[in-house]
Amino acid sequence: MQKHLDRELQHLKQHLILLSTLVEDNFSHAIKAFREMDTLATETVISRDQDIDKMEIKIEEECLKLLALHQPVARDLRFIVTALKINNDLERIGDLAVNIAKCANFLSQMQKIDTHFHFSTIIEKTQTMLKKSLDAWVNLDTKLAYEICAMDDEVDELKRQQEKAITQRIQEFPAETELLLRFLSVSRHLERIADHTTNIAEDVIYSVDGDIIRHHNTPAQ
């Protein structure tokens, strides 16, 4: 019985890795759409999100089936619960990527404005966090997971700075408000994605050590 469960858990992990790959790829496409105002990339992101949604449902059903059939305990139970949560987070990241791509699409149709909102740092940070959180999950690497939890604060700070800069610009040029609000959304979406990657990292720690570190972000002694 345990052997069956082990094999099923391996399959579950592979499916989740497949989903994470799709989400990571879609996020890079969304970033490309935003950076280069590439409408083709936007279309790719939107069409691929449907695959992501389907896959999320499939994985969730798989988890529920495992719970009902095998009634796992301890590590196996934690693994399945973690998979359920990461599944959810990945799907949300996928949705946020679609939102960013849509903002990019809107911005590409508008007249370009000269902004200095420094998106590259926050984009790079978020991308690194996503990549590292998935690496931590694949290798069940808690050290890496703790690193990600620490990075979240930096992204929050960057978002706060951007919010300030954009608000200021809205006050200076009220005519550009509609456009600037999109920039604000992108900034917020990026920060949300970073939050989800932090969730993934916390789930990895829970899966391996059984410690719940949410809301205090420090290793349990």
């Binding site: 890795i17 497949l18 994470s20 790829d25 998935l134 694949v138």
Partner: protein, 447 residues
């Protein structure tokens, strides 16, 4: 273990003997029986020595063989059955040892081949789990080899295209071996070309996949440099030609005054000579690249070379009122191609003059063991660190407007680098923005 039966045998014989001695006096029949018993005991002892002992030794030897210890002392026996057994066992052991050695050396050979390949090689089983992976593959994926082993390929590289690619390789059933498909993916900083082939078992079913990773990043980089170069050459040649053409077209106008005429003639001449300079430098570079190993060399002193170079730059120095100071030992002999090395020094000195903002340029000659250091230091605007790695590339300009205006061809430093390389030396540059730049040539004395 082996002594136990013997002990019992002795014990029994002792008992028997005791009984026999006590009973002999009563009944002669029993005496006969006793003698018979004695005979049995003697036979048992004999058999135990001849058969049991060699057999138990053989058992020990087979255990050793199973453990992989091939050096054993085989027992000698008078019994022909046992000696046959010993002979065949010893033959078997020899053969086993041979096979084992072959397997080990084949495995080592395979590992050496895989290990010394620059391309990454990975084999996967049907669950796309990594079975073998060579050192290069681990390097390309930038992960420790121990971590990668037994991971699935999806865990190792998260890439949608690669996943589909591997899926297709493993899906094919009952197929004939096919030509490898290929795919290009981005992995971290690298661009990898992935080639894959399905591995078939004896029933021609897919039993795994072979994946070969080839690093395209250097080729891509090289291609970028080549494209840059072609674009630069065309641009650099086009600029003077356009200007000359413009000047000539203006000269065709009959209503020009003689002053205007001479102005445009002068303009055409200046740019024609600039074009000539660029082509000359390009040809020099090409020539140097072709005959790098065949340059003619003679022995000169460092002082001679420097003095000649400074002499040729004197008009420029006077114009900008710059003084050159030379320190170090000018008598150090140097085996080199004098005209080429002078050209390199002139290029560097001219460069220093062009960017100098103080009335001083410092030259230094220094001998370190069997090598010689020539340093040219200016105290000018300096170069920002991001430009330093590309400084010796052809047509690379730090300040595009300024250097073209001052008549540089953009090839000076590239030429210097090639000259130094032809002398088996190297050149380094250090610079602090706003304080000045130092070029340091390091040459072997006997180059």
């Amino acid at each position: 273990m082996t002594n136990k039966p013997l002990f019992w045998l002795l014990f029994l014989s002792y008992l028997a003997l005791a009984t026999i001695i006590s009973l002999l006096q009563w009944l002669p029949l029993w005496a006969n029986l006793g003698v018979g018993l004695l005979g049995v005991i003697a036979t048992t002892l004999f058999v135990s020595k001849r058969i049991s002992n060699p057999l138990s030794e053989l058992q020990q030897i087979t255990q050793n063989l199973a453990k992989g210890e091939f050096k054993n002392q085989f027992p000698w026996s008078e019994s022909s059955e046992i000696s046959h057994l010993v002979t065949s066992l010893s033959d078997m052991a020899t053969q086993l040892e041979d096979r084992f050695t072959t397997i080990v050396s084949e495995r080592n050979e395979k590992e050496t081949i895989l290990g010394s390949l620059t391309d990454g090689v990975i084999t996967l089983d049907t669950d796309s789990r990594i079975q073998t992976i060579n050192h290069s593959a681990a390097l390309l994926l930038d992960k420790p080899i121990t971590q990668l082993h037994q991971q699935t390929i999806m865990e190792a590289i998260r890439n949608v295209d690669l996943q589909n690619f591997v899926h297709n390789l493993l899906k094919i059933q009952f197929s004939t071996p096919q030509s490898p498909d290929s795919l290009i993916i981005e992995c971290g900083q690298r661009t990898l070309q992935v080639q894959g082939t399905s591995i078939l078992d004896t029933k021609m079913q897919v039993s795994g996949a072979l994946i070969v990773l080839h690093d395209l990043s250097p080729i891509k980089q090289f291609d970028a440099i080549r494209k840059d170069f072609v674009a630069n050459v065309s641009h650099e040649l086009k600029t003077p030609i356009t200007l000359i053409k413009g000047a000539i077209e203006t000269l065709e106008d009959p209503s020009l005054t003689p002053d205007e005429n001479s102005h445009f003639l002068k303009m055409a001449k200046t740019h024609a000579s600039r074009l000539d300079l660029i082509l000359e430098d390009l040809l020099n570079l090409a020539r140097l690249e072709q005959n790098k190993s065949e340059i003619q060399k003679e022995t000169r002193t460092a002082g001679e070379l420097l003095t000649k170079a400074v002499q040729l730059c004197q008009p420029l120095l006077d114009e900008k009122h710059i003084e050159i100071t030379t320190t170090g030992d000018p008598e150090i002999p140097l085996h080199c191609n004098a005209p080429l090395l002078e050209q390199a020094l002139i290029n560097l000195i001219k460069n220093a003059i062009q960017y100098s903002e103080s009335p001083k340029i410092a030259l230094e000659v220094q001998a370190v063991n069997d090598r010689i250091n020539l340093t040219i230091q200016d105290f000018g605007v300096g170069i920002a660190p991001e430009h330093l790695p590309r400084l010796f590339e052809r047509f690379y300009r730090v300040d595009k407007a300024r250097s073209r205006q001052s008549g540089g061809t953009g090839l000076g430093l590239a030429l210097v680098k090639h000259i130094i390389q032809a002398h088996h030396g190297n050149i380094e540059v250090q610079s602090v923005k706003g304080e000045g730049t130092q070029f340091k040539i390091n040459l072997p004395k006997g180059a």
